[in-house]
């Protein structure tokens, strides 16, 4: 990877990592507040805390997408489409396998699979054209 792309990636990872850490911290606080012995406005504020960093994550993602050039945007869209189709088909196949007796899996696996397929394609894109 050339220097400019690497600097962009490091910059993006720094912002995204920081916002994600903030989001996860707020999420932990929110989950804690549900059962904690606090009431009133403080409880409401704590439970709603992940909303702002969550919105920031969405904004960062859209900003990063808009900063990409036309070819990268196209590849991102293609990767997202492939990831969505693969996940949908895999989920449907596993639904039938569950009927045949395979263990029930958490819905979080669909999200994991979606991201895995998407990330693999993005890494492939970065690795091409050496």
């Amino acid at each position: 990877m050339e220097l400019e792309s690497r600097q962009m990636l490091v910059g993006w990872l720094r912002y995204f990592g920081l916002t994600l850490a903030l989001y996860l911290a707020a999420l932990a606080l929110s989950i804690w507040a549900i059962d904690a012995r606090i009431a009133g406005a403080e409880r409401t504020l704590l439970i709603l805390a992940p909303i702002l960093p969550g919105m920031a994550l969405i904004w960062l993602t859209i900003r990063s997408y808009r900063r990409c050039d036309e070819f990268i945007r196209l590849r991102i869209l293609q990767s997202a489409s492939v990831a969505a189709v693969v996940t949908a088909v895999a989920a449907l196949i596993y639904f039938f396998l569950e009927l045949l007796g395979l263990p029930r899996l958490s819905a979080a696996w669909t999200s994991n699979l979606l991201w895995m397929v998407f990330v693999v394609q993005m890494v492939k894109l970065l690795a091409t054209g050496k």
Binding site: E2, E70, I72, G129
Partner: protein, 62 residues
């Protein structure tokens, strides 16, 4: 779509990264155009033509 971008770039002694910087795109985009995996949009084709001081049809052909 075929193109002579690699030849034009080589004539000027530029790397793909240098050409990408001049066109304000990623090196992956330049590589994809040169290898024929991606057809540049009209604005990008104009930018390439302007940079190499040639007409679009002189650079890109079927």
């Amino acid at each position: 779509m075929k193109n002579i971008v690699p030849e034009l770039r080589a004539e000027r002694g530029w790397t793909q990264a240098e050409l990408a910087k001049k066109l304000h795109v990623s090196r992956q985009t330049v590589n994809a155009i040169e290898t024929g995996r991606y057809d540049a949009s009209l604005p990008l084709a104009f930018a390439i033509a302007e940079l190499f001081q040639k007409r679009i049809e002189e650079i890109f052909c079927r």
